[in-house]
Symmetry: C2
Subunit: 341 residues, 2 copies
DNA sequence: ATGAAAGCGCTAACAA
DNA sequence: TTGTTAGCGCTTTCAT
């Protein structure tokens, strides 16, 4: 049976003190004799006293809860965000309340409602694509840091990733190495994210003075099977690209299988830039050059904004941060092979 | 500014009612006129009323919080557990407070302490290998469901996975198909999990009347690089195994790369059983035969035990559940090729 | 240096 | 059907 835990009064009774004195002793207030503090702490320890955050919250009018609303934990990206935010919270003695919307705006509404019952000092939210108006209304009366794809009718701090920068960084890197025939495997515009990434590709290619060739650009669902198939197709072309950019993590894995199956020399036959950092990159000696989401920085930025809730500083215009992707140069990219003839 | 939200009194004042009446109306108690209920609900809606769970908890002496303590969210297995438990919680209108110990028992202690401040009705915990005695002491006075690798000094419900069953199921499946030369790639006993899985292999082989051949058994770190290397080595043997069991998810991925690189026909040249379910299995037409952790069942079992907290039913001896792995037959396993000569 | 009293928002017992 | 009262555990005045 989960026995009811001891309260301040229990400690007070054990020491013939009043419970406010015990409270002040534990909070290390000045004006309590060191000796009393020591006795109180000792007794608290002995009784297994743990403060009741509900009572504290009720009294103080503010809780130590940070709400985190994410669409999906099976996505390694969001899982990494959750991990980092959890780390940040524990470092600041904050409670993390986690809600998973599964991309369902109806569910998101009920989760937000439930979350607000805990009166979180801040909600860090990656909202669904089309949140219900009620959800926005609820969040408007709370302090909310939006991440990833912000809903613009909700003001407050926003931490996003500059979506087009992934392609730009990858392409710039390849162009600098001398590549001109660059293959691109990405999510098609019908799927989430597709459009922005494709736009990034076009911008980067234009900036490099290259044109986006139809047959070098393979768009489809962002899964390993398509990455495999599309990369196979690119490698099988009569005049294959000298470099390939695989623009999402699942596509990268599929693409890696394709390279492997063809026993393509990397970067001898073809240079490769993949998306995301993963364990299996180590299979290639020297690793794979990759473009990654700035997960740690994103999570830390959001956490810090969250922890500022309640301070005056945030009254001055909501800070918005837009982080670029990061390039990690490894052994899978190099100059293109000399053309024959 | 996160304005202070309206309270029951605000609603009561707006309608010339007493706040307990409003409370009962919102809780749909009988003995309140339907008309009043309607008016109250409407006004609550209009004012954006959201209950204060701290006040409710303080009054009722029990919260709707479920604590979830996990070692690592970047591990896809734990991420999937978190996802499912979060789903279960939202279905039951419970709050999920997440804590990540990172395998650090010191940190685990401070997280448990912080968690208990919220007076969770239950803590679902995958404890570190050697929890601090204080951690155990704290949890002893709470209702705690342990998952995965339980600490036996802490009583209460336990939900585990029958570690040796993965190998048993895989081997039995292969033996039934007629295989005798079976390769095994697994985590060595020095690494966590290693021992139990290896024991599972030995049991299964013995049960099948087969002996564990030294050169068919490759043990090392549970990562893709080792899986790749070990599988390559198995395939390169003069007399290679006719089937291979890759016993963890990262090893499976590495092994898949090796099969691919050698252009091994699966299951023609070699049958393969992998561990875990993943997107990339779809690259093989018909998929890969796999042995998976019963993630959903494990999470649901833990959640249900958690939701029972406070009921009398749990007084009767702590229910312990030990779930077996699951076999998913796909196209990567078949009878061994005919021996030559 | 310590105690007494009040009140945060809610619900449950009792009264009307 | 509704109102009154009390109290959960804590912190914060204010008094001693």
């Amino acid at each position: 049976m989960a026995k009811t835990r001891p309260t301040l009064k229990d400690i007070a009774a054990a020491l013939n003190l009043s419970h406010p004195t015990v409270s002040r002793a534990l909070a290390d207030h000045k004006g309590i004799s060191p000796e009393t503090k020591a006795r109180v702490r000792q007794t608290a320890e002995r009784l297994g006293y743990v403060a009741n955050s509900s009572a504290r919250m009720l009294r103080q009018g503010q809780s130590s809860v940070i709400g985190l609303l994410l669409p999906d934990m099976t996505n390694e990206f969001y899982a990494a965000i959750a991990q980092r935010v959890a780390d940040d919270c524990s470092a600041q003695n904050r409670q993390l309340v986690l809600s998973i919307s599964a991309g369902d705006s109806e569910r998101e509404l009920s989760l937000v409602r439930a979350l607000l019952e805990a009166r979180p000092s801040c909600v860090i939210a990656a909202l669904t694509e089309k949140p219900k108006p009620e959800t926005i209304a609820y969040l408007r009366n709370a302090y909310c840091v939006q991440i990833m794809y912000p809903h613009d009718e909700l003001d407050g701090p926003v931490v996003t990733v500059e979506d087009s920068s992934g392609a730009r960084i990858a392409i710039e890197h390849l162009v600098k190495l001398g590549h001109e025939r660059i293959g691109f495997v990405g999510p098609s515009a019908e799927f989430a994210l597709g459009e922005a990434r494709l736009r990034g590709l076009r911008q980067a290619m234009r900036a490099a003075g290259l044109s986006v060739e139809e047959h070098y650009t393979r768009l489809g669902p962002s899964d390993a099977a398509f990455g495999y198939e599309a990369t196979q197709a690119l490698l099988a072309l009569r005049c294959p690209p000298t470099a390939i950019y695989l623009s999402t993590a699942p596509l990268s894995l599929g693409g890696a299988f394709a390279l492997n199956a063809r026993q393509a020399k990397v970067p001898g036959d073809v240079s490769v830039v993949v998306a995301g950092g993963a364990d299996w990159h180590a299979i290639w000696p020297g690793g794979l050059t990759s473009v990654t989401l700035p997960i740690t920085e994103l999570a830390d930025t959001a956490s810090n904004l969250a922890f500022q809730a309640g301070r005056k500083s945030r009254a001055k215009g909501h800070r918005s941060v837009c982080l670029p992707f990061e390039l990690h140069e490894c052994a899978s990219t190099g100059p293109p092979a000399q053309r024959r003839g």
